[in-house]
């Protein structure tokens, strides 16, 4: 990576880093893992920087792959989950407009989805990707994206702690 490439890479990180970490936060089981996923994604991007035409798309695909790898590793070797002390100092806690009591439920609900459901949900409704874009990123059909998103939303609608948030009609999925 020469100086010009380094500057371009750092500019990309400055412009897109927050968005990428937010996606990682939604995909990963905890904030520590999210930062690991984010860093590993950037590391892979840096290694291929001169050959990547669309860094954002590359990062989304890589993040998905890393999260899948982590999920497989956890399935093979379940680990003890420590209490995340960061939650206590979460800046959201000080914001009265945020329903912080929802976050543990949302986190648990996301954890209860399959990796594919979770990824589709995040890419479709957080990243605002179209069904065909998500299909392209994940290497699945647009129909699978649609059905996966539908099942994920149905699951969240029924999840304890979140169910009351949802309307009971007009689902557009």
């Amino acid at each position: 990576m020469d100086r010009r490439q380094t500057r371009a890479f750092e500019q990309f990180c400055a412009e897109s880093g927050a968005e990428l970490l937010r996606i990682a936060t939604l995909l990963a089981p905890d904030p520590h893992t999210a930062e690991d996923v984010y860093q590993e994604t950037l590391q892979r991007l840096a290694a291929r920087w001169s050959r990547v035409d669309n860094p954002k798309a590359f990062c989304r695909r890589v993040m998905h792959n890393i999260v899948v790898d982590h999920a497989r590793a956890r399935a093979r070797r379940p680990e003890l989950r420590l209490i995340d002390t960061r939650e206590k100092s979460d800046p959201r806690s000080a914001d009265p407009h945020h329903s912080v009591e929802l976050w543990p439920s949302l986190r648990a609900a996301l954890d209860s989805l399959t990796v594919q459901q979770r990824t589709v949900l995040v890419l479709r409704y957080f990243d605002d990707r179209s069904e065909s874009e998500v299909a392209g990123l994940l290497g699945i059909s647009a129909g699978t994206v649609k059905s996966t998103a539908s099942r994920a939303i149905a699951h969240l609608r029924e999840f304890p702690g979140l169910a009351a948030l949802f309307t009971t009609t007009d689902s557009m999925v």
Binding site: A8, F9, E40, A46, A47, D53
Partner: protein
């Protein structure tokens, strides 16, 4: 008020993450780490191939090469006396120390290193050159792992490199040119493409950089490491400090050299490369690259890139294994 289930999900996901900000140190650490890896990876597979070609005698003339290069002579002719300088004697001593070591046994070299803010354990496959890297981060720098295909030449490719001084010097120069000459194609999405400016790098700069980029590699054979020290003994501008200490206080021989070129027109870029070698084994204990002010190098300690930066890698240990070990850092 969100109207549909999708809107509710969208709203929840955005609100849940709207305060998430990445520490700037992560991107900086990635850049520092990548630069360190790039530097260590100077010798590519294609370059190793070039070296083999050179070994066969493709390049016989060594421009800028000074004594004590061996002169050709007829059988029975007495070898001319070679007078070594004090610095060259130190380098020849390192060469002997390296030659007396045995090659590590096992398929995988497990090398622990330490940088400014991270510890790394690199596992290099001696047969394929693939590398697994585990990183133990510090506060603000997460732990992580990565896998790089064909990170290093294989042990067999290193073994095929020439060990004669002239041939090895020529091979190092050929390697550098085969690595650097292909320019990456400009990206379409990153604004106007700057006009490339020709950069001139002298052969002696190339040889020192290439040699120091190979010496650390555990896949390098004792014979090649020994030959590299002899090649360095012939490079003008190499400073030798036989009574140095590395950053851990160990006795070391410090070899350093400041580039005499690197900028367009052949002007020096002022970058100083240094390696600290064990006088007992010839192994690399530590390497540093010092960038002068204004070289645009950004690190956590120099966020604006306007100070003198020394990028240090300390080589803590090298072990050998027959399978890829997991992360020693527990994650």
């Amino acid at each position: 008020m969100p109207a549909t289930d999708e809107d509710i999900i969208r709203d929840l996901l955005h609100r849940y993450t709207d305060q998430v900000r990445p520490p700037a140190s992560i991107a900086t650490e990635v850049v520092v780490r990548q630069r360190r890896q790039d530097r260590r990876r100077v010798v590519s597979l294609a370059a190793a191939g070039a070296a083999v070609g050179t070994a066969a005698g493709v390049i016989a003339v060594v421009p800028g090469h000074s004594s004590p290069a061996p002169a050709s002579r007829t059988p029975g002719q007495t070898a001319p006396a070679i007078r070594l300088t004090a610095d060259q004697r130190v380098l020849y001593h390192l060469s002997s120390a390296a030659a007396s070591q045995s090659q590590g046994q096992g398929r995988y070299a497990v090398m622990m290193t330490e940088g400014a803010d991270v510890k790394d354990t690199s596992v290099i496959d001696s047969r394929t050159g693939n590398m697994w890297s585990y990183q133990e981060g510090t506060e603000g720098t997460p732990s992580g792992k990565s896998f790089t295909r064909r990170y290093s030449p294989t042990a067999a490719q290193f073994a095929a490199m020439p060990t004669g001084r002239a041939a090895l010097r020529a091979a190092l120069i050929a390697q550098w040119h085969s690595e650097v000459r292909p320019q990456p194609r400009p990206k379409r999405t990153k604004g106007p493409t700057p006009v490339p400016r020709p950069v001139t790098v002298s052969d002696n700069d190339i040889v020192f950089q290439q040699a120091s980029a190979i010496l650390w590699n555990p896949l390098v054979s004792p014979a090649l490491r020994s030959a590299l020290y002899k090649v360095l003994a012939d490079v003008p501008g190499v400073k030798v400090n036989p009574s140095a200490r590395d950053s851990r206080g160990q006795r070391a021989v410090e070899l350093s050299r400041t580039d005499t070129s690197g900028f367009p027109g052949g002007k020096s870029d002022g970058i100083t490369y240094a390696t600290y070698e064990s006088p007992r084994t010839g192994a690399v204990l530590e390497s540093t690259v010092t960038y002068p002010p204004g070289s645009d190098i950004v690190t956590p300690q120099n966020p604006h890139g306007n100070g003198t930066i020394t990028d240090t890698t300390v080589y803590l240990s090298i072990k050998w294994a027959n399978s890829v070990p997991g992360s020693p850092y527990g994650r």
